[in-house]
Symmetry: none
Subunit: 266 residues, 2 copies
């Protein structure tokens, strides 16, 4: 089932595939091969265990050089998805958190729609051993799960990437997928701006001991993250909200300043 | 992306997967794993190079024991497909022979239809190196090809089986593949609660003279309103956000209180 097709057109477009802390070079290579088979080309690695470049990845890529040579490496997931407008997280298990869940075909159709509008998108895949944690999933717009056998769910990362890449390719000529999405005319903000807003909110709330008691902190943060993630905020909206938080923060500073000024006068 | 699901129902039904003269045990094992992931269970081997059973196949199957243990071995393709009513041949390349060609989804739908009628069916996969010859393809009812990148067509046998198995599973409950589940079952909150949140925000922002200069007040309020309106907030989310605003308001009050208390002490 292999062939040398150097002279034929290479399709190389579509969502970025982002691997969180991949361990095995073989897996990275097989992911690159899976992507190339179905026309994807942008592979991002978050803190790969064995560094980059990786000989074993090259070998397993079976000639998907255009993918391997353009791999980008990042330290954190936040950085790796910072410039993207829509990001889906793939997970093996259902999670008890508030998030939209898509099947692979639906996810690919949505991605195709955004792609046709010129918006950068990505699909985040978790670690070989334990996937993604809740706060990482909360950075993403929705979850993609695969309709696996309930009695035997053992998809590896390269297989999961293969299925998503395949579904991406099948939407290429799918009219349904090219329909526009409803909503504001503006696309959602970059993920980095969203993270900035969430961090800003958390900082302001930390200053007033909002996250109390400590054992509830993580859950409270997740709730906040998902509210803002699912709100599909645009760039101007994020600017507005950051202004709101700053204003509320300044108030306290001003309040203190006024009191202090009063004291000096007295 | 793996899990131990021993106690959950194992789906094991559907068309037989037939491998023509497979060479590598690893490939046989990965085929078994791919099948198990998507509910297929009947694996037939035509003259496997290294005989059967095969330790390397067992290892690569990652626990798909119910597939491995029931493998049947045949000497020829004719024998291996002899009892089947419909057989599809998968091929990487288009062939200049008169045969119907299906995409994987269409092929899976046809297979599902026959399966529902109680008819035994199978999907034949070629050799790792050179696939199937024309006379072998001619034994089959139709050809299945995959919509691969014309410039990079390098699907291996386990990947091809994975895609067919996946498409088989998606026909089980077509909705599974295309559906999206709203993460929360919760509908957006009542409009009144939304207005309450917006008013609360505006009140807090008025306290810090956020709406300045006055002629911009209306525009600024509209911006805020539309942010929260478009976010499709649920009732719990609105409660969370009101808690956030209250916390930020209290800070100011607390700040004043502390200063005042300090003054009293001095």
């Amino acid at each position: 089932m292999s062939g040398s097709n150097q002279k034929k057109q290479i399709i190389a477009e579509g969502p970025a595939i982002i691997l969180a802390e991949p361990q095995l070079g073989e897996n990275i290579g097989m992911v690159a091969r899976a992507m190339a088979n179905f026309g994807l080309s942008e592979l991002r690695l978050i803190a790969p265990r064995d560094g980059w470049p990786n000989e074993r990845a090259n070998a397993a890529a079976s000639g998907a050089d255009h993918v391997i040579e353009n791999v980008k490496v990042y330290d954190t997931i936040e950085e790796g998805i910072g410039d993207l407008k829509y990001v889906f997280a793939t997970t093996a298990r259902q999670r008890d958190m508030i998030s939209t869940v898509h099947g692979p075909k639906k996810a690919a159709q949505l991605m195709r729609g955004w792609f046709n509008e010129g918006l950068p998108t990505g699909i985040l895949f978790g670690r070989e051993r334990w996937g993604l944690n809740n706060s990482e999933v909360a950075l993403c717009d929705a979850i993609v799960t695969f309709p696996v056998n309930p009695g035997f769910a053992s998809l590896n990362i390269a297989q999961a990437v293969l299925l998503m890449s395949y579904e991406w390719m099948t939407t290429r000529d799918d009219e349904l997928a090219t329909q526009s999405f409803a909503g504001s005319d503006l696309p959602p903000a970059d993920r980095a701006e969203l993270v900035g807003l969430i961090n800003h909110f958390e900082e302001a709330l930390d200053e007033v001991d909002y996250f109390y008691p400590p054992e509830r902190r993580e859950r409270m943060q997740l709730n906040l993250q998902s509210i803002f993630t699912h709100a599909q905020l645009t760039e101007p909206e994020i600017r507005t909200l950051r202004g709101v938080v700053s204003a509320l923060q300044r108030r306290w500073a001003n309040g203190r300043a006024k009191e202090t000024a009063g004291n000096d006068d007295a």
